[in-house]
Symmetry: C2
Subunit: 347 residues, 2 copies
Amino acid sequence: MAVRTIDWEDDRILLLDQTLLPTEEKYLRIDSIDVLAEAIQSLRVRGAPAIGVAAALGAALAGVLSRAGSREAFDLDVRNAMDVLRATRPTAVNLFWALNRMKTILLTNPLDSVPDLRKKLIAEALTILDEDRRICRRIGRNGANLLQDPISVLTHCNAGALATADYGTALAVVYTAHEQGKQVKVFADETRPLLQGARLTAWELQKSKIDVTVICDNMAASVMKSGLVDCVIVGADRIAANGDVANKIGTYGLALLARAHEIPFYVAAPLSTIDMSILHGDQIPIEIRAAQEITHGFGKQTVPEGVAVYNPAFDVTPHTLVSAIITEAGVIRAPFQEGFHHVLPSS
Amino acid sequence: MAVRTIDWEDDRILLLDQTLLPTEEKYLRIDSIDVLAEAIQSLRVRGAPAIGVAAALGAALAGVLSRAGSREAFDLDVRNAMDVLRATRPTAVNLFWALNRMKTILLTNPLDSVPDLRKKLIAEALTILDEDRRICRRIGRNGANLLQDPISVLTHCNAGALATADYGTALAVVYTAHEQGKQVKVFADETRPLLQGARLTAWELQKSKIDVTVICDNMAASVMKSGLVDCVIVGADRIAANGDVANKIGTYGLALLARAHEIPFYVAAPLSTIDMSILHGDQIPIEIRAAQEITHGFGKQTVPEGVAVYNPAFDVTPHTLVSAIITEAGVIRAPFQEGFHHVLPSS
């Protein structure tokens, strides 16, 4: 299934407010950079590819909103907006990758008029959006070839339609296998603290009539031991040059559990998630989020007042635990660094 | 810290309603078997040792409440009550162990009058309550000897004062080490779906001024990888003759993660938790609880309507992953079956 997660309409950004799912489907029409930044920080839009698209559309929106008469003033407006967006979340590299592409438009067209550049910014953002759609489809096809029939997949967080402009990365593989007529069953970790698995993955799989069962994160080992899981597929927020994978907190533990049960552990991600400037996963900045997400997660206080809480949003899975990385350019196996060099355009 | 988790007062059962913690401390005065059964099923009182004590006091309460004129009618009243209590929860063996002790009072005193037997039932239940207190202290002392200074312990669910009549099993070890002057830090898994770690373990450790940090279950691997955990200590609901341990869902995964990080994994439990009639953990009945606990955990819907949910309350950790079992009779290491034979009175 493709959801209209994020789009561009009448010179504004349209996005589905994911904090309200699964009980309410409400679209936001974003007409300011501050509102967009808040939406990214509050996870109204989330998922590495979708964050990249949102940032690109944000730079285009900054161009639309700018009242500058000169190129100098216009560029400053757009750059200021990009600085605001760059500071929203630290881990997903797609954010920086998309903003760099938008910045390149400014840098490579110094003689354009303001109206011309405005159009080029919009065009580039829409190209990024469109590319993301096509990338999802290719990831889906490449990954589906790895899946036997029938197949039971365990996934974590949401790397689906709601994390991209089309039908996901990890879930693209599931959707494609389903379209190919394979019998696919999915176990979705609910994914504390913000429950993207329970709220989002279950929602979109149910819409696509794919068999999905929600479990608490701490049930994955038990389900694996019972022989109910054939493979694990997750997305990624940033992949280091050596193949270490930063993804939603809990991914690393899952990878260890998969290894202990001899279950393949796949990562599905676009090439834009690979950060060749970072050699090891330890160098990836990990976002620490508010204690409130854990202490008052369900609208009710669940931790006593004053008790310390630790809330890292991501962890790093060493490449040695990754069976393969599924990209739009093919399935890459160890040694990853070598594989990345073959498919990345300019590294 | 010792909390008054469950007690006997004026011929009635007094218990702290744990479903209201950490925001409300309310005691229930239980004056019927049905109300007690509901309290056990709804986890108002929980934790294997506390469930055993509750069941014993329940049998005594049945004796108090009986209006029977003959021993035959009195015994029937008490046995009916025990049948109701026996059916409340299937996994914790302490429930059945305690009820068997109460039944033995009926069987070994056939000539007693109703008033005499009523007194003996109360006395036996209070003996079980008192034994549990002394057992907690001994488990604490035996376990604390295993802990270096300073020490960082990761625990799951609640195996503390709130799970026993005194100051716990796993947490007894923590409390004793703290009393010995050791510098103790605890990571408490919040323990979905019912958050006994966040709500109960954090609450009682905070009351005792022990350094506690709550994490989501899926963060344990990351915390271990960071070198922040020296050992894992958990409780148990039933231990098979070979040392396999049934405990709160998520324990098995934790044991695998501890093994992967070369961290000792300890189980703290009274001898009454060992079930020599069961050879392997696979034979332990695992309670499957309502989907609602996951889908509507805290008054808010977090899973779309109609999506399947799997909610096992326990899992089984193979004895090969257990570094040692800490009991009131000493610390038992592999081969466990041999160790159990040395300390169990009649097996």
